[in-house]
């Protein structure tokens, strides 16, 4: 149970990094990645925080 970032679409803007309530997102090489061990799919929140802030549609999706 985790989200992932589609690397080819990621603009590396970094917006998701500090919105993630679980601190699961970090920079790796050229792009950002989600640590599946930390991602909770924003359990208990209204919306998926990384997808909400991401400037590119359908880039933070279910793994």
């Amino acid at each position: 149970m985790a989200f992932k970032i589609i690397a080819s679409q990621c603009t590396s803007c970094g917006a998701c990094e500090f919105e993630c309530p679980s601190a699961a997102i970090r920079m790796k090489g050229e792009t950002y990645i989600i640590d599946p061990a930390k991602c909770t799919e924003c359990e208990g929140m209204d919306t998926q925080q990384c997808a909400a802030v991401c400037p590119v549609p359908k880039t933070c999706i279910k793994a």
Partner: protein, 494 residues
Amino acid sequence: MNQPMISLESLFAPIDEEALQKAATSGGCSSSSCGSSAKPEDMAEDVWDKIKDHPCYSEEAHHYFARMHVAVAPACNIQCNYCNRKYDCANESRPGVVSEKLTPDQAMRKVVTVANEVPQLSVLGIAGPGDACYDWRKTKATFEQISKEIPDIKLCISTNGLALPDHVDELATMNVDHVTITINMVDPEIGAKIYPWIYYNKRRYEGIEAAKILHERQMLGLEMLTARGILTKINSVMIPGVNDEHLLEVNKWVKERGAFLHNVMPLISDPAHGTHYGLTGQRGPTPMELKALQDKLEGGAKLMRHCRQCRADAVGLLGEDRGQEFTLDQLPETVTYDASRREAYREIVAKERGDHVEAKKAAVAEVKDVATDAKLLVAVATKGGGRVNEHFGHAKEFQVYEVGPKGIGFVGHRKVEAQYCEGGWGEDATLDTVIQALVGVDVVLCAKIGDCPKDMLTAAGIRATDDYGFEYIETAIGSLYAAEFGLETSAAVA
């Protein structure tokens, strides 16, 4: 991509006769078209103190002082249809573009390195590539570190305004005295055509609802800044058919709320940039359209005409970008700030500026002594300092002045795609593009020019001369004008 910013038509008529007249009699430059050389009469002393070393706020200062942007704030809370931060090309100059993002620590190393090597540096700005207020923790950390190290550097941010009201108090405490807000609309119906979505209070809004929130936050932010005496510049992107006429309304709103300067920029739109507007064929304004709008806006909030729409990691004087000399891999591991070069430069500038003001006065007087109605459009190759001091073949841009019975006025700049001397595609082809950029110009002044390009310019109807090399720009133009229109007793030039 890099169009001349001034229409031909405009170049044959003064921008603002009254202002030029005033400039001619006072010896200073009109505040609306040219910043000012000495403090304009209608400007408060404390305001002048704040802007006199800021190249983006004072046209005169942009001859002497340099800015740098550090790209520490990549995250953004809105999407604009003219923006795409995904692609970068080192040769591309437009807002939102950077080659590498920096952490606050890296930014600190970069700023100190630049301050040691570029004594003209006076302003540190954070202009994205995202939003400086939204990515606040990084903006704040960067400013705090650097102002400790270089206390006299001016701090400046650029924001879309959405997160601005949350940080105005901190901005005031940190002595950030210049803020730029990009405001493209005051009507949410129009906003909905520019902003597909915003991210606010932990959720995404779209359409008119989004534009309405953004508009309210922008106005609130502007009012809060004004209340705290922070100088605010408004940037507006002119999008033909979307907000062009509407910008008159925007100008009114921001003026009422205390904006110091209004900068209307042309939309940069190219499918290769991958922006929504680029991909859907939305065009940018022609130089004529931009100029016509700017003229209509005169008399509202003060206009800025020397904007170069620079990158979010630009370094140097406005007309140049030395960013490539200061990429991360070129920065020393440890840096120590050495204030001596910047201090020495400031002393020179203080003296130069005094001389420059005198020289301008003399030159304007000389021009007015010439009994003719003739006007000349003069392109100047300069690398700063307000002097004719760049070689023709090295010029990346030409600053365009109009000289006539009403005095000497700055009217804009013309960018040159590839320098004549450095073009890799055959020099004749390059020279053609330079000639294109100079269309409408009567005379080119430069520090040095070879016979071959000179002849080709002549064939294109443009005269070029290096006779006035290293003079102050106004002095050179004044002498040229006097020589051109047969002044009998050549007036002495200071």
